[in-house]
């Protein structure tokens, strides 16, 4: 227990009491800082029970999602029966444990009712209420109109998905998807809506007697969010014609939409530069997101990107805006195009990491979470282990682990890190990291396990293979025949000392029992041969014999070497009956080596007349005629 104290308790408490205005949680924080992460614990969101803890990444997702859906089921019941949950025991009052108003209370046509619908995010109801108000002749205040426009543009005039109702696809949505060819299609694409022509947002906008910057802002940002890029730009020109100045959000949206409205690299950059100039003219101060959109747009500007990216960084420095992780991510993407081995120098990345060393980050841009996995990819491509360690130590600083993203991003990062370790590091260090990050932070996929096997092979630690097999079973990869075959071939390749051989044989029997449980898995001839060889080496002749019978039932042919091996074992056992059966088996498979086996058997074994007769027949039958 003492070994896992990161700082000594005395130190921690001293630092806590030395602060003059300490927060109420100072002592707790000091105690918490002495304990480091426990790599053997189950993830905290799950129950502390082996049956209920996830063992693969699919199980992790499944269990967290089912727990979450249980919670939403409870929330549904609470919100739909508010009268049962109103008794308030809590002192002081806890607002988040009270039922929420989900249904509308105000039915009359008034601005209050409109505001209520906006807060409850009921888009269609809000639009109806607004229309009713206009028909009744009441004027709606500017502020409420702004929030209404914001609401409609955010959800693109559709109600946000409630309780899992499936949204119907429209034809234009399918077309939009085809246009986004460069991006990998993910599930989140299907949840995005497209901007319909003449939808309610535009209609209400056109009906407004006076439109100010915020109205334009809502429309433009909504259009960019939902893919109507050209319209966004025309709306912007409209706004300029009406002699209004834009705000920083409009510029951010337009800059990020620039690569989608121009096709050539230099045209794209010219458009971005022009927007920045106009921003300057209108005296709008750029912020971090502006520069991040510029860098993101530069990723799609080809050859111009490298010089302009560095210029952009200088601009940021001149304005005193500190770059966030997303900025660095875009710069790395610009300078390290994927998988081109010409970029073997990692100087830029080293500079970036040196700059970021020891800093604590907060998330300022949604793209911040992509930094660590891209950085690790670069280290992996250029096989730079030192840099990989530096990145990992950066993740360990404070709460930076939060910036590793969701579980998918996290698994990519750790997968690449583990890959790098297996390639470059000594096996002891690899195993130390293995114990630390698997399975508490990362569930390796079959490729990851293969890397580990490779590393074990390189450093000749094949005696650890049975324990790796146990881990493969726990991770649920025992149904992947390629991985299992590789494991078996590594075990069967050479002879080892007798205890190791014993453990290998036990492992082979385990593999066999696992395969027996799954009738749908196709055995390969190689796997069967390896298992038989391992059993023979550990003198488990009876089980090896059963394996040979399996060959027939699974329609696989044993190899010559295997049968020769078997014959030698039979010879050392002195079992002539088995030898004869072996030769007969070989004949049943119509193997070309039958006659050689028969010859060997006749020569080496003491046989009865009957056996001799059988064998001579087989020998002559198969012997090639000269």
């Amino acid at each position: 227990m003492l070994f896992c104290l990161k700082r000594s308790l005395n130190e921690a408490l001293k630092s806590c009491f030395s602060l003059s205005n300490r927060s109420r949680e100072a002592v707790l924080e000091a105690l918490a800082s002495t304990v480091s992460r426990d790599p053997t614990a189950y993830p905290y969101q799950f129950q502390d029970d082996p049956y209920l803890s996830p063992r693969t990444s699919t199980e992790f997702k499944l269990f967290s999602l089912s727990q979450e859906s249980g919670r939403s089921a409870a929330k549904y019941i609470v919100n739909n029966n508010p009268k049962l949950f109103t008794k308030d025991f809590a002192e002081p009052h806890i607002p988040c444990l009270m039922p929420e108003t989900v249904s509308l209370r105000l039915e009359e046509v008034s601005e209050e009712a409109l505001k209520e619908r906006i807060t409850l995010r009921k888009v269609t109801a809000a639009v109806d209420m607004y229309d009713q108000l206009l028909q009744a002749g009441t004027t709606v205040s500017m502020e409420t109109t702004h929030s209404l426009l914001d609401l409609i543009c955010l959800y693109s005039d559709r109600d946000p998905v409630q309780d899992g109702e499936p949204q119907t696809d429209d034809a234009e949505f399918g077309e939009e998807l085809k246009k986004r060819k460069a991006r990998v299609r993910r599930a989140s694409d299907f949840l995005k809506f497209t901007w319909k022509e003449n939808n309610n947002a535009e209609r209400i906008f056109n009906l407004l007697p006076e439109r100010d910057t915020r109205c334009y802002s809502a429309l433009i940002r909504g259009m960019v969010k939902h893919g109507a890029y050209a319209k966004a730009f025309s709306m912007y020109t409209d706004m300029l014609n009406n002699r209004l100045t834009a705000d920083v959000h409009i510029f951010n949206a337009l800059i990020s939409a620039a690569p989608d409205v121009r096709d050539k690299f230099n045209e794209r950059w010219d458009l971005v530069a022009e927007l920045l100039n106009q921003m300057n003219q209108q005296k709008v101060r750029p912020d971090l997101l502006t520069f991040n959109s510029v860098l993101k747009a530069l990723r799609r500007c080809g050859f111009l990107a490298k010089t302009q990216a560095l210029h952009t960084l200088n601009e940021m420095k001149a304005l005193g805006i500190a770059p966030s992780l997303a900025s660095y991510d875009h710069i790395l993407a610009v300078f390290y195009k994927s998988a081109s081995s010409a970029q073997n120098n990692t100087d830029l990345l080293q500079e970036v990491i040196a700059e970021l060393e020891g800093r604590i980050f907060t998330c300022q841009d949604p793209d911040d979470v992509l930094f660590f996995s891209s950085a690790m990819r670069i280290c992996l491509d250029s096989k730079d282990l030192e840099l990989g360690y530096k990145i990992q130590s950066l993740v360990d600083v404070g709460e930076n682990w939060r910036l590793l993203g969701d579980s998918f991003q996290q698994s990519i990062y750790y997968g690449r890190f583990f890959n790098l370790l297996c390639m470059m590091e000594h096996i002891d260090v690899v195993l130390k990291w293995y114990k630390q990050i698997i399975p508490s932070l990362y569930y390796p996929n079959p490729q990851g396990m293969r890397d580990l096997l490779q590393a074990l092979d390189t450093d000749s630690r094949l005696d650890l293979l049975p324990s790796i097999w146990k881990d493969i079973k726990t991770l649920g990869h025992d149904n992947k025949p390629d991985l299992v075959e590789e494991l078996l071939s590594l075990m069967a390749r050479e002879k080892h000392s007798s205890e190791v051989q014993e453990s290998f044989a036990a492992c082979a029997l385990d593999v066999k029992s696992v395969f027996d449980l799954r009738p749908s898995i196709e055995w390969s001839a190689a796997s069967l041969s390896h298992i038989t060889t391992l059993l023979l080496r550990a003198n488990k002749t009876r089980q090896a014999w059963e394996m040979l019978q399996l060959f027939k039932s699974r329609n696989r042919v044993p190899s010559e070497g295997l049968l020769n091996n078997f014959l030698s074992v039979c010879h050392s056992d002195g079992d002539s009956q088995k030898a004869v059966q072996l030769v007969q088996l070989s004949a049943a498979f119509c193997l070309p080596t039958t006659w050689r086996l028969a010859k060997r058997a006749l020569a080496e074994f003491e046989l009865t007349e009957e056996q001799r007769a059988i064998l001579s027949e087989l020998e002559t039958a198969g012997e090639p005629s000269d």
Binding site: D49, E68, I77, V78, F85, L97
Partner: protein, 171 residues
Amino acid sequence: MAASLSSIGNVRVLSALAWSSSLCSFSGSRGLHVTVSCCKNRAARIRVGKGDKPVTYEQAHHPHHIGHRKGWLSQHTSNLKGEDGAAERTVEDVFIRRFMFGTFHGCLANEIVIKRRGNLLNVCAVMLQKLPPQKFYFLIGYTESLLSHFYKCPVKLEIQTLQDKIVYKYL
């Protein structure tokens, strides 16, 4: 009871008179208290039968063994001197036990232990592995959330699973 009528002891006299009058009106009578029959000698005991009824450790020991051979199923401080709310805690416990029994129907291996630590309500249960883990997690998320909203305090479930019920003896 001799009552002195001096002016100094007026208050005491009056109170003494009041007391004696109340005593006098009921002198010679005894109160009769009636309750529903409690059957304290039959509570929580499984009677010895033919020998085919499996019984857990909890069920096999009678209530007078609590504190000696059994622990408490419900742990809170309202039974200590000067603390109040014992009745409310008991009613809450009864509701929670029924709720858990119904929600995790057929999965409970033993009685539920309810612990209260500060604001937190900790429900500890031993379950049988009758449902796949994702269904367990659905029910766990649902129970925690619903009970938290109901009792306005954080409710945490601690579940352990077993293959079958542990039988202590057969009665």
